[in-house]
């Protein structure tokens, strides 16, 4: 798999990371090196091996259906750049 500058630009845009045009070739190159490294894994024969989902054999932890959290509007909003009347206030986003 090869990443060109167009793909690099698209990935950056989807991730909302601003990358200047002149930086794109270097970014694409970096992606390619990372992917090349990962692709080495494809050389291992995993025929008949169960996919591993966890390093330790454990079961997904569950919680009971009980309200144990919440009720701290002030804390939730304390990092917000702007909050009004209990809401986060953000630049207008409307379809």
């Amino acid at each position: 798999m090869s990443i060109d500058t167009g793909t690099a630009a698209k990935v950056a845009k989807l991730a909302r990371i601003k990358v200047e045009d002149d930086q794109l070739p270097a970014l694409a190159e970096e992606f390619n090196r990372i992917l090349g490294f990962i692709e080495q894994l494809g050389e291992v024969d995993v025929e008949g091996v169960e996919p591993m989902t966890s390093v330790a054999p454990q079961r997904l932890k569950r919680r009971e259906d009980v309200v144990t959290d919440g009720g701290y509007q002030d804390k939730v909003l304390s990092n917000a750049p702007d909050a009004r009347e209990g809401f986060f206030a953000v630049p207008k986003v409307v379809e």
Partner: protein, 503 residues
């Protein structure tokens, strides 16, 4: 299990300028899981709380917070799956669906793209007595709901409330088996009914607890059958997805509009673009949501914060054992065991509360008579007062007694209506009221005969007319009923009037 037989409905046909067209529709319904706490946090799901008060740090996506699944939400999804005869996947897994929006603080929604918890099932969508559409369900997966953005509180800002963020949703995906706008609305109605019977979603569409995306395409007649035969989507037209509707009426209007729009494009020699559209109820039209297109690249990947969800047979069987009787079974039982018409059975099973009410009225009594009284008198009266069955001033025990009094001929049908009104407005024991107020039907022929003779003797002119025209005998029956305060047995009165007039 009891089953009523049915035929599929005819697909809707829309005449274009050149050809006749059919519709092919598939729905994705998002149903909010009824639970106390959210899918991955201990925050409350309660509707209408102060903004951002039902939010845990997990929901606000604070760094380092980890999701822990609510087992009851898992049980609710399994319960829903069993309720639509679906395959339950004992191994399922969560994925991240990545996109940016202010009401999604994580920057991704935890969902189940690759391994949903529920597989294929089906829903029988009733379209009328003996007519129903079998709609196949492709899957049900669990996912997080997003928060709510409010755009009309400030001219320049949007306000975000994260109370709904992280609440569990079931996305219920149908196959493209729905063939018209009415069927689509009926499908949502039937699904809602099943969810409410199961108690897995309250079905409140106004609050957005049940909303849906509708996929619509058009095809020429005969093409759909080829698609069903081969499974090749190439036989169908390009589909458009209409997003986020929470009203049955709008679902129908949007599909109708969208189909006509596509027909116009295709007949004009154009091509339908596969895209996401929004229905504008004020204008009655759908429009493209172009901005959504690029965001469609969701870059799904397995959620590294969550191990696969494994459930065992006993978990599933415990839920199966606790399933209630579902609408189809209940309806079939009402028809076959209580002798109701399919129509009446449908009306009575529409809401589980109404079905329970009816069963209490009908217990040990005439089922048909009980159905008539619940549907015609009680529902009619409640509707007049804008009341729900759960707010009925007449209890099932009271109505049951009224039905019993009619069946035993203790009161006439007409008096029963008066009695019902008394019980409805004043309350009280119907049997005692009948005794106290002397409402018992007069079956004593001597008393009725006396009344008949009295009326005949007082109206010699009418007697002559009735002898010339026997149809006028009804007037005497009415007079006698009036004299006896409606308590005389109408059939006995009629027989006596005819005999005394010599007709």
């Amino acid at each position: 299990m009891l089953d009523l037989t049915f035929e599929p409905p005819k697909p809707k046909v829309i005449a274009g300028a050149k050809y006749d067209w059919e519709l092919v529709i598939g729905l994705e319904v998002h149903a909010q899981v009824s639970s106390n706490a959210k899918l991955f946090s201990g925050a409350s799901t309660k509707f209408g709380a102060e903004p951002n008060s039902n939010v845990a740090f997990v929901d606000a996506a604070m760094p380092g917070m980890l999701p822990v699944i609510n087992e009851f939400c898992v049980a609710q999804a399994v319960r829903t799956g069993l309720g639509i005869n679906a395959e339950i996947n004992k191994w399922s897994a969560f994925d991240r669906k990545n996109y940016f929006y202010p009401d999604l603080p994580q920057g991704y929604q935890i969902s189940q793209l690759y391994h949903p918890i529920v597989g294929e099932g089906e829903i029988i969508v009733d379209m009328g007595p003996g007519v129903a559409r079998r709609v196949r369900i492709e899957r049900i997966h669990l996912e997080q709901d997003a928060g709510k953005s409010i755009h009309d509180m400030d001219p320049n800002m949007s306000f975000v409330d994260l109370n709904r963020t992280g609440v569990a949703l079931m996305e219920i995906v149908s196959r493209p088996d729905i063939r018209g706008p009415e069927e689509a609305a009926a499908y949502v109605g039937k699904l809602r009914q099943i969810l409410r019977y199961l108690g897995t979603c309250d079905g409140n569409m106004q609050n957005g607890n049940l909303r849906c995306d509708v996929n619509v395409s058009i095809c020429r007649q005969g093409a759909y059958e080829k698609f069903i035969e081969t499974g090749d989507f190439g036989h169908l037209g390009t589909r458009c997805e209409i997003k986020n509707m929470n009203s049955m009426r709008f679902i129908q209007q949007a599909i109708e509009y969208e189909a006509r729009r596509q027909i116009q494009i295709v007949e004009g020699g154009g091509k339908v673009d596969q895209e996401t559209r929004l229905y504008d109820p004020d204008k009655g039209e759908t429009r493209s949501m172009r901005s959504k297109e690029e965001a469609h690249d969701y870059r799904y990947f397995p959620c590294p914060d969550l191990l696969p969800l494994e459930i065992d047979d006993s978990f599933i069987e415990d839920i199966r054992a606790s399933l209630p009787e579902l609408p189809d079974q209940k309806k079939a039982r009402f028809v076959t065991e209580l002798g109701l018409s399919e129509y009446d059975a449908s009306v009575l099973t529409a809401e589980v509360e109404a079905a329970d009410y009816f069963e209490a009225v009908a217990a040990g009594r005439d089922g048909k008579l009980a159905a008539n009284w619940v549907i015609n008198e009680l529902f009619g009266r409640l509707k007049k007062d804008n009341k729900d069955i759960t707010e009925s001033p007449v209890s099932p025990e009271q109505l049951g007694k009224i039905v019993g009094l009619i069946s035993s001929d203790a009161i006439s049908g007409k008096i029963a209506k008066d009695l019902f009104e008394i019980v409805y407005t004043e309350g009280g024991d119907p049997e005692a009221i009948v005794e106290e107020r002397g409402m018992k039907q007069v079956t004593d022929t001597g008393a009725i005969e006396a009344a008949v003779i009295e009326v005949i003797e007082a109206n010699p002119a009418q007697v002559e007319k009735a002898k010339a025209n026997p149809k006028l005998a009804g007037w005497f029956v009415g007079q006698v009923m009036k004299v006896t305060g409606g308590k005389a047995n109408p059939k006995a009165v009629n027989d006596l009037v005819m005999a005394k007039l010599g007709l």
